[in-house]
């Protein structure tokens, strides 16, 4: 295809989707914006190369996402990622809320961004990916399984475990009960 047409279409895609891709990548990277930017840059460069093929099937976003997820899972398997601690020290947690202070639906104000990022960082990479794909991007179990290259049953179990672990990590500061007040469970999703 002519380079000018590829450039034009690719530019339209970047303008429309880059921020959304970066926000999701930030969650995959547990708030590490530099790493998220690396993931997105890598994905978009590869998407540009594959553009003539991918545009025919209209799966540009899915293609970019597959690269981001693969790169995320690959990078965290590298020794340098295992050695690196890109999460700051866990912040001090506020004391438990008084009984009845938090409604069943409300997420207590005590949980801030740092706590959530620290909790996300504490999740194994595949669990974090499962929760981002299912609960942030609203992908179906089938779509998530395809991206993570695993079975649908594995997606369900990884998502459920991830939610349970998040609950556990945030429970002290959030006043959330083991019943998961305010956190949607797998059963209520597609």
């Amino acid at each position: 295809m002519p380079r000018s047409l590829r450039d034009e279409e690719f530019s339209v895609f970047v303008r429309a989707r880059r921020v959304e891709l970066l926000r999701s990548a930030c969650l995959l990277a547990a708030g590490d914006t530099h790493r998220a930017e690396d993931l997105v840059q890598t994905a978009l460069a590869r998407l540009y190369v594959a553009w003539p093929r991918v545009r025919r099937s209209g799966t540009q976003a899915a293609y970019a996402w597959r690269i981001i997820v693969n790169a995320h899972l690959d990078e965290v398997r590298q020794p340098r990622w295992r050695r690196e601690h890109y999460v700051p020290e866990p912040p001090d947690r506020p004391g438990a809320a008084a009984p009845g202070a938090a409604s069943a639906d409300a997420l207590p104000d005590g949980i801030d961004g740092d706590q959530i990022r620290a909790a996300l960082a504490a999740l194994p990479p595949r669990m974090r990916a499962a929760i981002v794909l299912r609960h942030w991007m609203d992908l179906s179990v089938e779509e998530t399984a395809s991206l993570l290259r695993c079975s649908e049953g594995t997606v369900k179990s990884q998502t459920a475990k991830a939610l349970a672990r998040l609950r556990e990590l945030l429970a002290d500061g959030a006043g959330m009960t083991a019943g998961g007040a305010g956190m949607t469970t797998e059963r209520s999703h597609r």
């Binding site: 921020v19 914006t33 978009l44 540009y48």
Partner: protein
């Protein structure tokens, strides 16, 4: 209502994620994409990435009957039938093994990602440069299925054969169910069947790994 999405939204605060209303300028991504495409083409990978036109521009066709090297030694019969396959008994790098090689060709090198064969004495000894070489690799993890082309089974397993510029590409499923890609220069003079014959002697070892892109 507070749910997991709200929780995740909160993780993007304090400068840990871009503002959703923020715009994106494509110039830098365009430049990176063009750079990667140029490098892929120079390395002869464009055929696998879907843009093989540049391969034709950089690959040097074999000049049969003239020049130097292996091509100059070919007889008329070999030109029409292609370079013959001969049994290989030399050392094999990690990742892949072959039972036959084109006559006059050697295993130039390899790793978990690719096995590279080239004419004996080939000046380009960089195993990361595939132009004009015979390459065996597992299909990229970013690819799905065997892609376009005509049906060409390998040892009873499904496969697809296509020619892109000066490069023949055979993508087939091996006995263990993995998709394998063999890229061969048309200067070998091989038909799809001959390429499949070579493929039938390829063994993908447990330490072989899929590439990207």
């Amino acid at each position: 209502m507070n749910d997991v999405k709200d929780l995740l939204e909160r993780a993007l605060t304090d400068g840990h994620g871009p503002d959703p209303a923020q715009g994106a300028e494509p110039a830098a991504d365009l430049a990176r994409g063009r750079g990667l495409l140029r490098r892929r083409r120079l390395m002869g990978l464009a055929g696998l990435a879907g843009g093989a036109a540049a391969v034709a521009a950089v690959a040097v066709p074999l000049s049969v009957g003239g020049g130097s090297g292996h091509g100059a030694r070919l007889g008329a019969h070999q030109v029409t039938a292609g370079i013959a396959l001969v049994a290989y008994r030399g050392s094999q790098p990690a990742g892949y093994q072959v039972s036959e090689v084109p006559n006059g060709w050697v295993i130039q090198g390899g790793n978990a990602y690719a096995l590279v064969l080239a004419p004996q004495g080939d000046k380009n000894t960089d195993i990361n440069v595939f132009v004009g070489k015979l390459v065996v690799m597992l299909q990229s993890r970013d690819a799905t299925g065997p892609g376009p082309g005509t049906s060409q089974p390998v040892a009873g397993q499904p496969g697809r054969f296509q020619v892109q510029g000066d490069t023949e590409i055979l993508t087939y499923k091996d006995q263990k169910g993995a998709w394998v890609v063999i890229q061969a220069p048309t200067k070998l003079g091989w038909s799809a069947g001959r390429l499949a014959q070579f493929a039938a002697g390829v063994q993908v070892l447990h330490n072989a790994q899929q590439g990207r892109g």
